[in-house]
Symmetry: C2
């Protein structure tokens, strides 16, 4: 049996901060990232690819708002917007991976699956929405949207007096489509799944599937998927080659080999800061804790050199 | 081995002409339609479900336009919009089918797949775009959009001086993801695929996958999928219980049992008119011609009574 890896693509795999988000930019970025997965395929891995959807679903939400303003088109709720983004981003990734495989003469099938992820409707996240989505508004715009749609807002550090909509970010409980994803990947298909952390659903008292406005922590959903399907390794691709202790301080230190206990301690002590790296490290630790062999955080372009990147294992590697 | 059916849901399965298209309406319509698939499941069929996306992708396109106007968000091309609609509609259908199965105590897995459909970039449709998409514009609006985006327009019979955007509607050549769809359905999964006729792609001289602005004939794509996966029966669910000869004329006649040759003759003679029924009948004939046993055109709610609906077979059934 091949080794199995889950590879979580960061937001910058598709859309970078300084870009307008045109389809040409997204396709170019996707291809540059996906090109590097060839190293994992050549190394004998079956692959499941997960991806973020922050900028894209933000745009979809804004388009819903604008469509209602300009054309009076009924806006769709967040679950449908996330599902839309799984379709659109997943298709783009599928097309680009197929082209990368073609370029390298590798014959492999690619499948993009809509993925439902179960959450707990009583998750504490619902009493304290923290996930910022969509564009930046002025105070006046935010107040108007709060009145009109009941959206909640928090200030953003990005611009003074800027506000962004916040929704709850509950923990994933289960990947509803996990068995299918595992079977397809184990058969040698590259599976694109769990986009944007998955579409949040819960089972009501009749076991009917319902949804709630929420964005699931995508790193944790990817990690849970990796555990559920028995992956050997879990890759989190981002825009830095390593994780650092005391990042930005005089005591900054590049971390190449980490074990579970030390990393857990660093995390609780705030050694990694509380930025976007924290949820990635938490997701990596979750994978190791539940039996995964190795978590890796690095840049996509570093996959060629296996000595690169920050590797988290239960015990230190020799 | 179970019998295998492809069921093509018409646009009204989700969104009806006189509705605003809210999520509540779409979910209610979907549930009412899907409820009837229980009869096919109880009859021992494995199922692949395909669906239209006309109103939804029209709304997505309009939201892209409005998002650019109001928030200067880069609009996505048609292939991404179709992929978005496959994600959003597919998810909605998946959720509603899972709830219908739950209600009836049937344990079956459901999978929603993004589906790429190959077209010929030299298809004659590209020299004569005919597929109307999106909302109705005035002459002035249509002219402005033609100037701004190069969109083409044709008048609509729905309102005087109304215009709608037209894109080419090429024939499908191949369902790229057909093997996966077949395998998953044969394993007993309900597969939702080929939404909106599929995302139009073609292979260039390097065998790279490229796309073009087009909407594939969804009935023909569903029929091709049914042929490709070796389905036994092909169901086209629409808003009439039967097809009629000379519909609306004094000679109108309900057709219950049709054979291939007569139906083909009727079609060529214009006996069915040239409305929305024609492509459905053409798709049904294609299925029979390529070896399918039976095509059925009817209303979803008539599936309970197997004597209902218009049945097309190679020879008349006894």
């Amino acid at each position: 049996m091949n080794k199995l890896a889950v590879v979580a693509l960061g937001g910058n795999a598709l859309l970078r901060g300084d870009e307008a988000g045109t389809i040409e930019e997204q396709e170019k970025n996707a291809t540059e990232t996906l090109e590097n997965l060839i190293f994992l395929i050549r190394d004998g891995f079956d692959l499941v690819i997960t991806h973020g959807n922050g900028p894209q679903v933000g745009n979809i939400l804004m388009r819903n708002d604008a469509g209602e303003q300009v054309y009076n088109i009924a806006p769709m709720p967040l679950d449908i917007c996330v599902a839309d983004s799984q379709g659109g981003i997943g298709y783009m990734l599928e097309r680009m991976i197929r082209n990368v495989l073609n370029k390298h003469g590798i014959s492999k099938n690619v499948i993009t699956m809509v993925t439902l992820v179960e959450i707990n409707p009583n998750d504490k996240a619902f009493s304290n929405p923290t996930k910022r989505i969509g564009k930046i508004y002025s105070k006046e715009e935010a107040d108007a949207l709060n009145k009109k749609k009941g959206w909640l807002f928090k200030s953003t550090s990005k611009i003074p007096n800027g506000y962004r909509r916040v929704v709850p970010s509950p923990e994933p409980r289960d990947i509803v489509n996990k068995d299918t994803i595992m079977n397809l990947a184990r058969q040698g298909n590259i599976v694109i799944a769990s986009g944007g952390g998955g579409i949040p659903i819960y089972f009501d008292e009749n076991n009917d599937i319902r949804t709630l406005d929420a964005v699931i922590d995508k790193d944790m959903a990817s990690s849970m998927l990796a555990v559920n399907i028995g992956a050997d390794e879990f890759y989190v691709l981002t825009d830095v080659p390593f994780i650092f202790k005391d990042y930005g301080k005089p005591t900054q230190e590049k971390l190449e080999f980490l074990n579970y206990n030390d990393t857990h301690k660093y995390l609780e002590n705030g050694t990694f800061g509380s930025g976007t790296m924290e949820p990635k490290i938490r997701a990596c630790l979750n994978f190791i804790e539940k039996g995964g062999k190795k978590s890796v955080i690095t840049e996509a372009k570093k996959l060629e050199d296996k000595s690169y990147g920050s590797k988290i294992t239960m015990e230190y590697e020799d």
